[in-house]
């Protein structure tokens, strides 16, 4: 028994140390720069691949060289990333970083596929580190012990650097109060590159040692990034100590669960994270000092370039155009067009649902795929167990998503900012892992082979069995579904727009403007935010339900965090706080994807690059494009030839703070 526990300890610490190195950089980067770096996992993978490339020509003995050279190279890449992509975004809302680093994930990950082979590879280890030692019935491989000792040394070194050097002092101070560091005559911005580079190098270290322990493969970054976030949040964003304690803790817990309660291996850490955040909203070692003013919310232009009438006409024209798509399918173009546009419509609805809560109350849900998945599974399970009526199961999807959204909102809306984002991510990952394990949801295969009819109480039709004839064109099957999806999207748009014009919507807008003031004219703002979250969840559930009705299956991959990331990308791409922008964003996203896959296998590389450029150059979303270009195109007087009006992006994070200072000033 004792030996078993020791064995557990060794295994748990091995993983734990990797987590510590990974999370330390992530946490410090957030603490100092306010950047949520999704690309951290890819830097981790890049470390392993660089090591692979360095070791391959020389054999295992080159391992120790690679262990230091590869992180150095990744560190340099980190410095470059900070300098050229992150730096232009300082002072803006952290959402920009999500979009940016999401783009970087695509770029780096695809580069790995481009340069190295797609499968798993073993990292050659030197002879010294192979073999194992047995002490007191405990067999530990030398490599395990090496990881633990080496990782611990690294962590101590990093800690000492933070604690005892000038550099560390400045970085720690910067994490607490950036402007005051500047006031003391220290150019804090110069240190950002170093912090980012160091974080990247630490991630690379972690990648190499884990690569040697398991294998090196292109998805290794994706699989560690979420646990790394959990650790960072658990420990407290920006806290090095938190990252160490959290990393070791999660490593041990995961290993213990795998041994004793494998059912909870995937879900345990998320339950833990949610629990901790509910009790301590800033994590175990976090303080609210890390949380800064959110910068300018990047909502699309209000009013904007077109007058309302023109926009209504444009909208009607768009819907009309969309309605024509199925008519030409199979004759003018392949029926695939219908499939593609259905996807755009469903994701457009999904993105619209997110915009309703993100764009109008400022709550960033990083786990919105949860509701999409809930809707999908509600339909799938409903079809198998409740009714085969499409309307009944869609209603079920909406209701279930709304109820869960209420529950999650009840628990988490009082948690603010980034922590809210993380708690929603936690719930989504929890659900994702549950789906993979539960019997009645079909485990990791999901549910498929579903059939439905359109009607109620057993009276209705299947879409394949009927056809509507419009002259020579017969509309049937998927084309009929197309109209159902389009109708759902249009109805949802009209419904949410109506809500925004109602007293309820007026309160949401007032919260976006000034939450404190909204409280002082008598609104319980958390209640309104929660209601918005419920509406949003319900619509996301509808989108997921439509997906399953159309595709005939539901799998856990629908809840993958990448989907949550993609839908945020669509919202920001199109223009937040506009309702229609995200739908356009969906169209652009899938349109680009479709276009690029036609040209190259490396489409994600191109797509990622586009996101990165987009977020740096066009922060207001695509819907802001006309008003930006208008002066140049129309030669509007006074604006000159420069199509970039300045106030759009404010590089200085301070003004928002200043105004607040003004409000609280003389707080006698």
């Amino acid at each position: 028994m004792a030996s078993e526990l020791l064995q557990l300890l060794v295994d748990g610490l091995t993983i734990g140390v990797v987590y510590v190195l990974l999370a330390a950089g992530l946490s410090v980067i957030f603490g100092v720069m306010n950047v949520i770096n999704f690309a951290h996992g890819e830097l981790f993978a890049l470390g392993a691949y660089f090591a692979l490339a360095l070791i391959a020509p020389f054999g295992g003995s080159a391992f120790f060289v690679a262990l230091f050279v590869a992180p150095l190279l990744v560190g340099i890449i980190g410095v470059g990333i900070e300098r050229f992509t992150v730096r232009p975004l300082y002072g803006r809302n952290p959402l920009y970083h999500i979009l940016l680093t999401f783009g970087l994930v695509l770029v780096i990950n695809d580069l790995i596929y481009l340069i190295w082979e797609p499968g798993s590879v073993t990292l050659p280890l030197p002879a010294v580190l192979s073999g194992s030692i047995t002490v007191l019935d405990v067999t530990a491989s030398v490599y395990n012990l090496f990881i633990i000792v080496f990782g611990a040394l690294m962590a101590v070194a990093v800690w000492a650097m933070f604690e005892f050097t000038k550099y560390g002092l400045i970085v720690r101070a910067g994490a607490q109060d950036r402007q005051m560091v500047r006031n003391l005559g220290i150019d804090i911005d110069r240190y950002y590159s170093l912090v980012f580079g160091m974080g990247a190098a630490l991630a690379a270290f972690a990648g190499i040692i884990l690569g040697g322990y398991q294998t090196v493969n292109p998805t290794m970054g994706m699989s560690v990034i979420i646990p790394a976030f959990v650790i960072v949040v658990l420990g407290g964003l920006g806290s090095f100590r938190g990252a160490v304690v959290g990393g070791l803790f999660v490593g041990l817990v995961q290993t213990a669960l795998r041994t004793y309660a494998p059912i909870f291996e995937g879900t345990g850490i998320f339950v833990l994270m949610i629990g901790v955040l509910l009790v301590r909203p800033h994590g175990l070692f976090g303080t609210d000092a890390g949380e800064e003013h959110a910068g300018n919310l990047l909502s699309g232009p209000r009013g904007g370039f077109l007058d309302p009438q023109t926009r209504t006409r444009l909208g009607l024209a768009m819907v009309g155009l969309l309605a024509l798509v199925p008519l030409g399918a199979g004759t003018l173009y392949s029926t695939y067009a219908v499939t593609l546009v259905i996807e755009i419509i469903i994701w457009g609805l999904f993105a619209l649902s997110l915009d309703f809560v993100m764009g109008y109350t400022g709550l960033v849900s990083l786990g919105h795929a949860l509701f999409y998945g809930l809707g999908a599974y509600a339909v799938a399970l409903g079809l198998s167990h409740v009714s085969q009526s499409a309307f009944v199961v869609l209603a079920l999807a909406i209701v279930i998503s709304a109820v869960i959204a209420w529950g999650i909102g009840f628990l988490s809306i009082r948690v603010s900012g980034v922590y809210f984002a993380m708690i929603t991510l936690g719930f989504a990952e929890l659900f994702y892992n549950l789906l993979g394990q539960l019997e009645f949801t079909g485990g990791s295969d999901g549910l498929f082979g579903l059939s439905t009819y359109y009607g109620l109480a057993g009276v209705g039709v299947e879409l394949d069995e009927i056809a509507v004839f419009l002259g020579p064109v017969a509309i049937t099957g998927q084309s009929l579904f197309y109209y159902i999806a389009l109708a759902a999207l249009v109805a949802s748009f009209l419904l949410t727009r109506r809500m925004l014009n109602s007293p309820f919507g007026a309160v949401l807008k007032s919260i976006r403007e000034n939450e404190q003031r909204a409280t002082f004219i008598g609104y319980e703002t958390t209640v309104y935010k929660r209601r918005a979250f419920v509406v949003s969840g319900a619509l996301a559930g509808l989108a997921g339900g439509l997906f399953t009705l159309n595709a005939g299956y539901a799998t856990p991959s629908l809840v993958d965090w990448l989907n949550s990331g993609e839908v945020i990308v669509m919202v920001i791409l199109g223009g937040m706080g506009t309702l229609y922008g995200p739908v356009i964003g969906s169209g652009i996203f899938f349109g680009l994807e479709e276009l690029l896959t036609g040209f190259t296998d490396r489409w994600r590389l191109v797509l990622g690059t586009i996101f990165v450029l987009f977020v740096i150059l066009l922060p207001g979303g695509l819907v802001s494009l006309p008003s930006r270009l208008a002066p140049a195109l129309l030669g509007a007087p006074g604006r000159g030839p420069n199509p970039e009006p300045e106030p759009e992006s404010n590089p200085d994070p301070e003004p928002a703070t200043d105004v607040d200072d003004a409000h609280t000033r003389g707080d006698d």
């Binding site: 007293p503 309820f504 919507g505 007026a506 403007e513 409280t519 002082f520 004219i521 008598g522």
Partner: protein, 284 residues
Amino acid sequence: MALESSESTEPNESTDPTEPSDPIETTQQRTDTPLLQTENLVKRFGQFTATDRVDLTIERGEFRSVIGPNGAGKTTLFNLITGALPVTAGAIYFDGADITALSPSARVRRGIGRSFQISNVFGGLTVRENVRLAIQSVARDEYTAVESLFKPTDRYDELNDRTEAILDRIGLAHVAAEQANALAYGDKRRLEIGVVLATDPELVLFDEPTAGMSVEETRETIDLLEAVLVDQTLLLIEHDIELVMELSDRITVLNGGQILAEGTPAEIAANQDVQNAYLGGMTE
């Protein structure tokens, strides 16, 4: 600073017949109880005691001013009364009911309005929307959930009539469709007062309503306050002693978080403690 009696007395000793979930109830006049009463109110930030055993009683219809040097705890006291800060110890009664544990928004609905030190309106919304939001807040029980979710705001005739009435009263009807951000400083202040008025308060707390205004603007603002808020009980923080002396029924002087003196303007002007602590004898 030691604290002998930080324990709050039984919070519900004054009668509280209906569970105070109904904001309308409080509008009924009960002249036997003071409108606002604080008992042994204490607020500490770490080791610093910002509010130190404050017992404040404000009668209906009164115009009360709170003065005191910087750091005396005036704004903290306001924050405790409005619920922006939780109390460390003590109790607050409004209209006889214990409101110590109520949220800020619940207190607003009970009838405690607050105007902010620097005008703090919804800058991105129009003047009309600003006022309507406040009207809508107190009138929300008059409409069903479905209505408040789906009925466009411009079809609430009664609310809109009330909104226009307020806009007329504060003299901003002509700029009702403008963005609040675009207003001149004085007009923002008017809007601010209008928004507070629209929440239909019984007690209004003003934190330096004339800060940063010229003498003429101050005069106009005060005239506006007196014209618009005739039915309300007013509690004012103000640096301008002359103004305070002229307007107040009673004055409370805070110093170091404690009540140093309280009385009519004449009494306060004659009070030697006040002279020493606040006026510093500088114009002797």
